[in-house]
């Protein structure tokens, strides 16, 4: 895997200014609000992004999700790192 965004288990991430996670009550969707656009996030992504508080490390988030969903840690880690790397590359998240 080529990891250019350098998101690792030790990383502590949060939303960059001008971006936030929000539940759209009217459409019952999770969205990320961003400058002049909003995009829908689905599947496991809202569960992951809800845990970003600027304090917990990526590793802590992986562990918490593995516990919550009783799933193998390495499966969760792969999903979490892929999502967080992608959003970091897009400057939605930062360390």
């Amino acid at each position: 895997m080529t990891d250019q965004s350098c998101v690792a288990e030790e990383s502590v991430l949060s939303f960059a200014r001008g971006h936030r996670l929000q539940h759209d009550r009217v459409r019952d969707l999770w969205i990320v609000q961003a400058p002049e656009k909003a995009f829908v996030i689905e599947g496991s992504a809202p569960h992951i992004l809800r845990l970003l508080d600027g304090e917990r490390s990526v590793g802590d988030i992986i562990q918490q999700l593995a516990n919550e969903f009783s799933a193998p840690r390495e499966v969760i880690a792969k999903d979490v790192l892929a999502l967080l790397s992608e959003l970091t590359e897009k400057n939605v998240l930062h360390t």
Binding site: R17, R20, D24, E36, A38, N91
Partner: protein, 356 residues
């Protein structure tokens, strides 16, 4: 009957007043005066109803929205309602104190407009002496505040060659995003079309400059092309009454900011009905919603749910009937009118400036 899906964005045109007089202003030719503007209570209700209806983002615009003394209060309410707030401003009324108040109120993003990179070019379009220096100072203040900033440049024949310098200015000022928007030819822009419409060669050069900048990375670039040179129309507003709602200074509710030119229909006002009723039930919003209204060649076109027949206001302005296919489409029987406009746009008439 199922209700239409709710709007995503609200364009809140707080006022038509503005210190600039750009000849391509998106406001209508008939500008609304201060005495007709909704008061603070009226705008608060618009925001509350918009959030309730399903709007996610509110764009505070004008005119110059900073001419309204209640802007901070409205931004603060938007934040409380979980509406993402964007301020679309010329920056000439911005100072450190005002910016700090907006920041504290929870403003999410600022779109700062520039008319050009040169002082002479900027003053020729905006008509306000010293505006460029004030805008640059505004950009510095915004950058220092940390509020995400998009620089917006409207381009036309006179400044289109300076797109590379526009990107350089955006990078120098630390903007995260730049919008290069070709002038849209409605209202004031249409009045000045022959003076502003770029040639095909200019457009190609502009597109090359945008692509070169995107390839460099590090700056997010939005590019709005002039559809007079296209052969398929744009999906105007993402479809009439589908994603977007505009409220004018006096409270009129429109499917787009140019829609007041549509004849033979009542323009609903938030003072007479709820936003929800207007969005769902008003004749204006249902006039061109979906595909049932479409004539040929749209009706049997496979792209009808991609471009939604293009722009109603452009169809009206160029063919005399808002229910026609947008003449930008090469399948339109009126497409020659667009080609003629392009051919005639080299006579350099004088600019007609926006005024009350």
């Amino acid at each position: 009957m199922t209700l239409p899906s709710p709007p995503m964005s609200l364009l809140a045109e707080l006022t038509h007043r503005c210190p600039l007089s750009c000849p391509y202003c998106s406001n209508p030719l008939e500008l609304e005066r201060k005495a007709a503007e909704l008061d603070t209570v009226g705008w608060r209700s618009v925001l509350e109803q918009a959030a309730e209806l399903g709007v996610l983002q509110v764009h505070f615009s004008g005119g110059e929205p900073m001419a309204r003394p209640d802007l901070v209060e409205l931004v603060s309410l938007a934040r409380k309602l979980n509406l993402y707030s964007n301020l679309i401003t010329s920056g000439v009324l911005l100072d450190e104190t005002k910016l700090e108040a907006l920041d504290k109120a929870g403003l999410d993003h600022i779109q700062l407009s520039f008319q050009d990179v040169t002082e002479a070019g900027a003053e020729r379009i905006g008509g306000l002496k010293g505006a460029q220096a004030r805008k640059i100072e505004a950009a510095r203040l915004i950058r220092a505040s940390g509020i995400p900033m998009t620089l917006n440049f409207v381009v036309h024949r006179e400044n289109v060659a300076r797109i590379p310098e526009m990107f350089a200015l955006a990078r120098e000022l630390g903007a995260g995003r730049v919008e290069i928007a070709h002038t849209q030819y409605y209202g004031w822009g249409l009045k000045n079309r022959d003076a502003l419409l770029p040639s095909r060669e200019q457009l190609q050069e502009a597109t090359r400059a945008v692509e070169a900048e995107r390839a460099k990375g590090g700056l997010s670039v939005d590019y709005v092309t002039p559809d007079y040179h296209a052969d398929r129309p744009k999906p105007c507003m993402g479809g009439w009454g589908q994603r977007f709602v505009n409220v004018t200074p006096s409270g009129r509710v429109l499917p787009c900011h140019a829609a007041e030119i549509i004849p033979d229909v009542a323009f609903p006002n938030v003072q007479d009905g709820t936003l929800s009723d207007i969005w769902n039930c008003s004749p204006l919003f249902n006039m061109f919603r979906g595909t049932d209204w479409m004539p040929e060649p749209c009706r049997s076109c496979e792209r009808k749910e991609q471009d939604w027949g293009g722009c109603r206001c452009q169809a009206l302005a160029l063919t005399g009937d808002a229910a026609n296919t947008d003449p930008v489409c090469s399948l339109s029987p009126f497409h020659d009118r667009v080609e003629k406009a392009v051919a005639e746009a080299s006579e350099k008439p004088e600019l007609v400036y926006r005024r009350f």
